[in-house]
Structures are given as structure tokens and as C-alpha cells.
């Protein structure tokens, strides 16, 4: 069982992620944008995995990944990007920022769980 932080400004997406992840026995904590994601990280401490959206208000996914990577505790935490964006340019940007992998929305639960498994030891 993993503790997973999910960041998405869409309630629908957060609910779907929560349903999928908790269905697979994981604990999903939620944040609605990058800024809240950082705050949640500092409150929650250790997480096994972060799944983040790109297009969000206040602090977008790229900004979030960069800032999360600056935190000593999350230098090596796997971060998956979950976005409808699929252009190579956006992926390259996410990779430069420090993302571990990319899932294109909409996702089905198998795709998501497979990606989760691929980047975590759980």
C-alpha cells in the first residue's frame, strides 16, 4: 500500500484518481493546485508517489515539480505527470523539471496502476 499525493484542479479527476488508487489499496491524499501540493507535502511528510496535473491555477505542474525537487525529502520521490497534453515539447519540459513519467488523460485504471507500479517499489 502506497501513500500517493494527487494534484489536479479538477474535482472529477481527483475523485477518479482517488477511486482508482484507493480501489487498488493505496492511500490517496489530494491537492487542487501546485501551491496546495507543496503545502500538503510539507504537512504530510513522506509520500511514496506524486501524481500531478500540468495546467493548474497558481502554480502549474512544471513549477510544482521543480519546487518539489528542491525539497530534500522529495529529491527522489517518483513524480508522474497526468495531463491531456501529449506534445513532445511539454513532455520534455516536464522531464527537465524532474518528472519520472507521463500518463496521458484520460486514463483507464489499468494504465494508471501500471504506471504507478513502474515507478514505485510497493
Amino acid at each position: 500500500m502506497l501513500k500517493i499525493l494527487t494534484i489536479d484542479d479538477s474535482r472529477v479527476m481527483r475523485q477518479m484518481l482517488h477511486a482508482t488508487l484507493s480501489g487498488a489499496g493505496h492511500t490517496a491524499i489530494q491537492a487542487s493546485d501546485g501551491q496546495e501540493g507543496l503545502e500538503t507535502l510539507s504537512d504530510a511528510g513522506h509520500v511514496d508517489l506524486i501524481i500531478t496535473d500540468i495546467n493548474m491555477p497558481r502554480l502549474d505542474g512544471f513549477g510544482f515539480i521543480e519546487k518539489a525537487r528542491e525539497l530534500p525529502a522529495h529529491r527522489a520521490t517518483p513524480i508522474l505527470v497526468l495531463s491531456t497534453e501529449s506534445s513532445d515539447e511539454k513532455k520534455a519540459r516536464a522531464r527537465t523539471a524532474g518528472a519520472s513519467g507521463w500518463i496521458v488523460k484520460p486514463f483507464n485504471s489499468d494504465t494508471l496502476l501500471r504506471a504507478v507500479r513502474r515507478v514505485t517499489t510497493g
Partner: protein, 719 residues
């Protein structure tokens, strides 16, 4: 686990909010108030609709949202300027997006021609020739690629091939810096089939030359699998670019293969072998852990903290919220209502026992009363909502009405943050819709007429909300031609609403449009009235304890003013005695109370008038008006309540005595008994008796009708 249906409900709720944000954003761009963040917010709204729609397989919605999004992306990147023409097309696209959402909700279908037309309009801004953006091509192509993609496009190779593959890979430090781990890669490979894993430690330097931050190790995995090369490549999707990978159907010659022992597949990795595989991972983590040590000194940490703090202040942190079933809040409000009644009863009972004012019981009761009121206010605040949700729906209505009537209209909204009880919000939409349609259909002139009158061809309709003396006031004003009073008069006479020679002030003529059976449109226009007269609108507003009126200036425009109580649950009332009965008069209506002097009272026919300072107002005995007695009491023995009514005039209500002021819980008479003329609702008093709440407007209005019928001279109402 939440069911998909529940999530779908959230999706449609969210869509409504997103569409509202979208429209608001586009309108503020149109008004020249938008900035980059507005463009981003607008983009995100469409993007989120698309994302959610994709999850539910709502293809038509996804397709259109994608085209819309691509156009918005052009604006975001600066390739397209959001000028008037672009925004116009986008606003129309917003309407279609809203229709598609609605259609998805109800399983209906939107006219494909409308979608196609709007899509073409959107695409016209960037065109098929724009090869710079790959998304543009995707928008036009029919086969949508929404299958999960990884960092590097996976070459789609035929799954056929030799069952034995040799995979050589060597992660770089960057691989570990992004949270990836060799152990995981080996485990994924092991999933595909039997593996023989060889560690390539050839680059490993002597121990004293070892740099803890470097990555030295590589692996060769010989794997027997039917899955094919694509499946193997997929394992490396997330690390490609940072990690050298070579895959081959034959045995690859290893560069300087060392004589390290062959490791079993990683799933069965013995604990002893693990550390060696994890060395690079640890190496990648270590420098960061050093970061917290005072190596760089606190001087370095300080500014960073400060910057972080500054950023936190700059970005307004959203207040945490919870979502609660409305039913629970309603139940709470009901209960608080009962609490208020109970508290009042208790106060009354204690009052009957002869206690000194300073007794402990009295003091405790006073603080109970205070607390009850605070609880009530807090609970009501839970249900309060900004009128934004209603206002947001109006730009579309204005656009549609404008295009149907061939008029050019700009809608300006003010006071969207004004809060009002949810039960009231729900009832605002219809009257506002009606007033706006009326303002555009009847108030505004056609562009040609406006130019002839020396005005700008585009008319302005202003929709505003504000709080005024415990009520919400909604105003709809236009800068059109104003009410044609002569025509209104003629029509009113023609339809028997007034007598031909009846003297009326301009204000009164204007407000004839609310009279039953009156419509200034030559044919009852389906557009402005949707078949419903303004009289019906007025009645429905009155039934909520509200008022509506219109003021007009020839050639300059008209203003509809509607006021409603902030809540339909409680009311601040004046408790008065009339004969044997106790009545509640809404405090909001009362301007002042006074004891009339004999010299101030004039008799006029069957009616009475009261001189209040410079003005003369009709004096109405409430007992007579309600039919409880036939003769009015002697005015000098009673008390007069000076009330304001919806036509902007005053009247004086005469009652026997004032008992006090109290907040009362409104109990509907229609629901519990039946509708009673001149009575707005009922309440339960402290002693358990039912008291009626007076409908001031009706009482005053009736008196006026009587006065007219009696042929007495027109009463000039003081304003």
C-alpha cells in the same frame, strides 16, 4: 470506492462552474480587463472540460473542446491576438460547449451543423497550414490519439521476433534524480519473462576515486519473452533520454564485460545483492541530504525562505472548504427556527414569573437570546451564496436576445459577490431573465434608431446587485428610449386597466406595465415575455416578500428595480396589537412610528389622510383593512406605522398598540393552511400562539383601489 455515476455528477457540477469561469474570463478579455492569467484561466477551463469529458468517453464534447482549446493555446502563446472578432467566435463556442455539456447530461444531441460551423470559425484563426504546432494537426485528424503515451514515442513494431532479447542499459545520474530506480526497471523486465541479469561494473573506479554522486553501473539482461520489442521498450519509457538503452534480438557484445557473477532475476534478488544495485540511487539522494547541513551556511537558506514566504503571500491561499448536502443545512435551519421559537417561549414564561431584571435567570436568558441569534446568523450564512451563479447565466441570454432582435447590446454586471440565501437565489433567475429580455426587446432601440438619436449603435444593459437595508436589490437598467408613456396610457385605457380620465403621475404610468393583462408589445412577444406578462412576474416576486418597480426617462432609458428579502426563513418584525389580535409588520417596510396629533388628521370622503411634516399620506386602519372591525379607531389613541411600499410611496398604517420587536420564523400559510389576502405568512409567538404577518404592499394597494373606486380625489402619495 466511489461509483462512476457519482463522479459523473461531480463532472457536470464542475462543468457548470468551468463554463461560468470561461464566460466570465472571455467577457473580461472583451472588456479589455483581462491579463495573461485570465487567458490561462480560460484555457484551463476548456482544458478541464475536455479532460473530464475524455474520462467519460463523451467524444463529441472532447472533440469540440479540443478545437476550442487549440485556439485558446494560440492566444496563450501569443500567436493569436484576442481581438473582438476572436472573442466573439469564442463566446459563441462557449455557448456550444455549454450545449454539448447539457446534451451529454441528458443524452441529447446538439445540431452537428452548429458544432461544425463553430469549429470551422475557431480553426480559421490558425488554419491547417500552421505546421508549427502538432496539436493543430491532431485537432483536424479523425483518429484521436488518447492512448497513454510515454516520454518518447514508442515505435510500433511488429511483435514478431526471436523470443530471446538482450537488453543493455546504463542509467545516468539524471535517471535517479527524477525518482526512477534500476530495481524497478529490472523488476518490470522480470515480469516479461525469464531474465538473466549481468551487472556491468566496468566503469566503477577504484574505491578512493569513487564519486558518490556519479552513476557507474550498467546492466545486461538476457530475457526470454513472447512480448516483443515494444513491450521491452515500454519498460524504459520513463527513463529514455536519461538512460542509455540498447535492445537487440541477438546477443550484444558487451563493452569490457567483467567477470562479476550473473545475478538471478531481480524479483528473487537475495538481500545481499541489493545494496550494489542501489548504490547509484543513494548517490543521487545524498547531495540533497547534504543540502540541509549548514554547508552553504544559513545566509543561503535565509533568502530562499523569504522568497518562499513572499510567494505564499502573493498567491492567495484558497480557504479550505467542505461540501455538505443542502438537505442537512436545510434541516439545521429548520431546527434553529424551532430553537428561536423555543427561546422566545422560555423568555415569555420566565417573564410571567415575577423576577427582578438582574436575577441570574434573566441574565442567563439574555445571553441565551444573544447566542440564539448568533447561531441563527451563522447558520443562515452557511446557506448564503453570491448571486454570481445567476449572473453568470445572463451574458448568454443577452447575446441570444440581441441576435434575435437584431440589436447590439453590451451587458455590464456589478455586485456579483452580493450574497443571498440559497432559497432566494433559486428564485432570482426567472425575474432577472424577464427584466433583461424586456430591457433589450422593449427598452433598447435598433442600431439605426440609436444612431439617428445620436447614441452609440451599441446599447448598454446594466445588471447590478447590492444589499440595501436588509434586502437584496437587483437593478436592470438600459440606455434605451425609455417608456412611451402616451402609448402605455392608451393601451391601459384600451384594456380597461384605468379609466380614460384618470390622473396619474409619470411614475404611476410607468408602473402600469405591471398591471394584470397589460403588455406594451403589439403582439405578446414570445421573446420578452415567454408568454408571461410582467404582472405574473410581479406577483411571483410579491409572494416572496419582494417588490418590483420601474423608473424611466424618455430618451435616456429605464431601470427595473427588484428587491427581495435576503432570506425566506426569518423576518425582523414589529409585533403590534389590532383589536384582540397580534400581528407582525415586517420591520423592513417600516420607516418610522409615531403618535398622530388630532390636527394632523384630515378626513376625505370615506378615507383619512395624515400630514407627516410636509407630506400628506393615506391613513389606513389595519383592523378595518383586514375586515376585523367596521369602524376605524380614534387615531389619537392608536399608533401609526409609516411604511414604504413598492411603488416608492408611503402610507400610514394605524394599529392599536406596539408590543415590541422580534425576529420571527416564517411559516408559510400556503403550505400549512391556504393563501389569505393581505397576509404574507404566519409565525409562532413565544406563548405558542400563531400570529399573522401583514402583507404591507397589498394592504396599501387595496386602499388605493378603494379610494379610486369611491371616486375620491387622487391621493398624491408622498415619496
Amino acid at each position: 470506492m466511489e461509483t462512476l455515476e457519482a463522479i459523473k455528477v461531480t463532472f457536470f457540477q464542475e462543468c457548470e462552474e468551468l463554463l461560468g469561469d470561461l464566460e466570465t474570463g472571455l467577457l473580461s478579455l472583451q472588456a479589455g480587463e483581462g491579463d495573461d492569467e485570465t487567458v490561462n484561466a480560460v484555457f484551463r477551463a476548456v482544458h478541464s472540460v475536455k479532460g473530464g469529458a475524455g474520462a467519460f468517453g463523451l467524444e463529441a464534447l472532447v472533440r469540440f473542446a479540443h478545437t476550442f482549446e487549440t485556439t485558446l493555446d494560440k492566444v496563450r502563446s501569443g500567436a493569436l491576438k484576442a481581438d473582438e472578432a476572436v472573442l466573439k467566435v469564442m463566446l459563441r463556442a462557449t455557448d456550444i460547449l455549454a450545449d454539448l455539456v447539457q446534451a451529454a447530461k441528458t443524452d441529447a444531441v446538439v445540431d452537428p451543423d452548429r458544432i461544425a460551423e463553430s469549429s470551422e470559425d475557431l480553426e480559421a484563426f490558425w488554419g491547417g497550414h500552421d505546421t508549427a504546432a502538432p496539436a493543430a494537426a491532431a485537432g483536424e485528424s479523425d483518429d484521436w490519439d488518447f492512448t497513454p503515451l510515454a516520454f518518447a514515442p514508442v515505435p510500433s513494431l511488429a511483435p514478431a521476433g526471436p523470443p530471446r532479447w538482450t537488453v543493455w542499459f546504463k542509467p545516468s545520474t539524471a535517471t535517479y534524480a527524477k525518482g526512477n530506480d534500476t530495481v524497478l526497471l529490472l523488476r518490470e523486465l522480470a515480469r516479461l519473462g525469464d531474465c538473466e541479469t549481468v551487472l556491468d561494473a566496468s566503469s566503477l573506479p577504484a574505491f578512493d576515486a569513487l564519486d558518490a554522486e556519479e552513476s557507474y553501473l550498467g546492466w545486461t539482461v538476457t530475457i526470454t519473452t513472447e512480448e516483443g520489442e515494444a513491450a521491452i521498450r515500454e519498460v524504459f519509457d520513463f527513463v529514455s533520454g536519461d538512460c542509455e538503452v540498447r535492445i537487440s534480438g541477438e546477443v550484444v557484445a558487451m563493452p569490457q564485460l567483467s567477470t562479476l557473477p550473473i545475478l538471478p532475476p531481480v524479483m528473487d534478488l537475495p538481500p545481499l545483492a541489493l545494496p550494489s544495485a542501489q548504490i547509484p540511487a543513494l548517490a543521487a539522494v545524498e547531495p540533497e541530504q547534504r543540502d540541509v547541513l549548514p554547508v552553504d551556511g544559513p545566509a543561503d537558506l535565509h533568502p530562499r525562505d523569504k522568497a518562499a514566504k513572499k510567494e505564499k503571500e502573493a498567491a492567495p491561499s484558497a480557504a479550505p472548504t467542505i461540501r455538505v448536502d443542502l438537505e442537512r443545512v436545510d434541516r439545521l435551519i429548520d431546527l434553529v427556527g424551532e430553537l428561536v421559537i423555543n427561546q422566545a417561549m422560555l423568555a415569555q414564561r420566565v417573564g410571567e414569573i415575577d423576577l427582578t431584571r438582574a436575577s441570574n435567570v434573566q441574565l442567563a436568558l439574555e445571553s441565551l437570546e444573544q447566542l440564539t441569534r448568533e447561531i441563527q446568523d451563522s447558520v443562515m450564512a452557511i446557506r448564503a451564496q453570491p448571486v454570481k451563479s445567476v449572473f453568470q447565466r445572463m451574458p448568454r441570454l443577452v447575446r441570444e436576445t440581441a441576435s434575435m432582435t437584431g440589436k447590439q447590446v453590451k451587458l455590464v454586471t456589478e455586485g456579483e459577490g452580493t450574497e443571498v440565501d440559497k432559497t432566494v437565489i433559486e428564485r432570482l433567475s426567472d425575474p432577472i431573465t424577464h427584466m433583461l429580455r424586456n430591457a433589450i426587446d422593449h427598452g433598447l432601440e435598433t442600431p439605426d434608431e440609436r444612431i439617428a438619436a445620436g447614441k452609440a449603435p451599441e446599447g448598454t444593459v446594466r445588471l447590478s446587485a447590492l444589499h440595501r437595508s436588509g434586502r437584496i436589490v437587483i437593478e436592470v437598467s438600459d440606455d434605451g428610449k425609455g417608456i412611451n408613456r402616451q402609448r402605455v396610457r392608451e393601451l391601459a385605457v384600451e384594456r380597461g386597466v384605468i379609466a380614460p380620465d384618470q390622473p396619474l403621475t409619470d411614475d404611476e404610468v410607468d408602473n402600469l406595465i405591471f398591471a394584470p393583462g397589460f403588455s406594451t408589445a403589439k403582439a405578446v412577444s414570445d421573446l420578452s415575455g415567454r408568454g408571461v406578462g410582467l404582472d405574473v412576474v410581479k406577483r411571483s416576486i410579491q409572494s416572496l416578500g419582494g417588490r418590483i418597480s420601474i423608473a424611466s426617462k424618455a430618451g435616456q432609458g429605464s431601470t427595473f428595480t427588484m428587491s427581495l428579502p435576503l432570506t425566506l426563513a426569518v423576518l425582523d418584525g414589529m409585533v403590534v396589537s389590532v383589536g384582540e389580535q397580534t400581528l407582525i409588520v415586517p420591520l423592513a417596510a417600516i420607516v418610522e412610528t409615531l403618535k398622530p396629533k388630532k390636527s394632523d388628521i384630515r378626513r376625505l370622503g370615506t378615507g383619512m389622510l395624515l400630514a407627516v411634516r410636509d407630506a400628506i399620506v393615506p391613513l389606513i386602519d389595519v383592523g378595518v383593512a383586514l375586515g376585523w372591525r367596521s369602524e376605524p379607531i380614534d387615531p389619537t389613541t392608536g399608533v401609526v406605522l409609516l411604511v414604504e411600499c413598492e411603488v416608492g410611496g408611503c402610507a400610514a398604517l394605524m394599529v392599536d398598540a406596539i408590543q415590541g420587536q422580534r425576529q420571527v420564523v416564517i411559516k408559510s400559510l400556503e403550505q400549512n393552511f391556504q393563501r389569505v389576502e393581505s397576509i404574507a405568512a404566519a409565525t409562532i409567538l413565544g406563548d405558542g400562539r400563531v400570529a399573522l404577518i401583514l402583507d404591507v404592499d397589498t394592504v396599501v394597494g387595496e386602499r388605493r383601489v378603494e379610494a379610486e373606486a369611491g371616486g375620491s380625489p387622487r391621493l398624491a402619495l408622498a415619496s
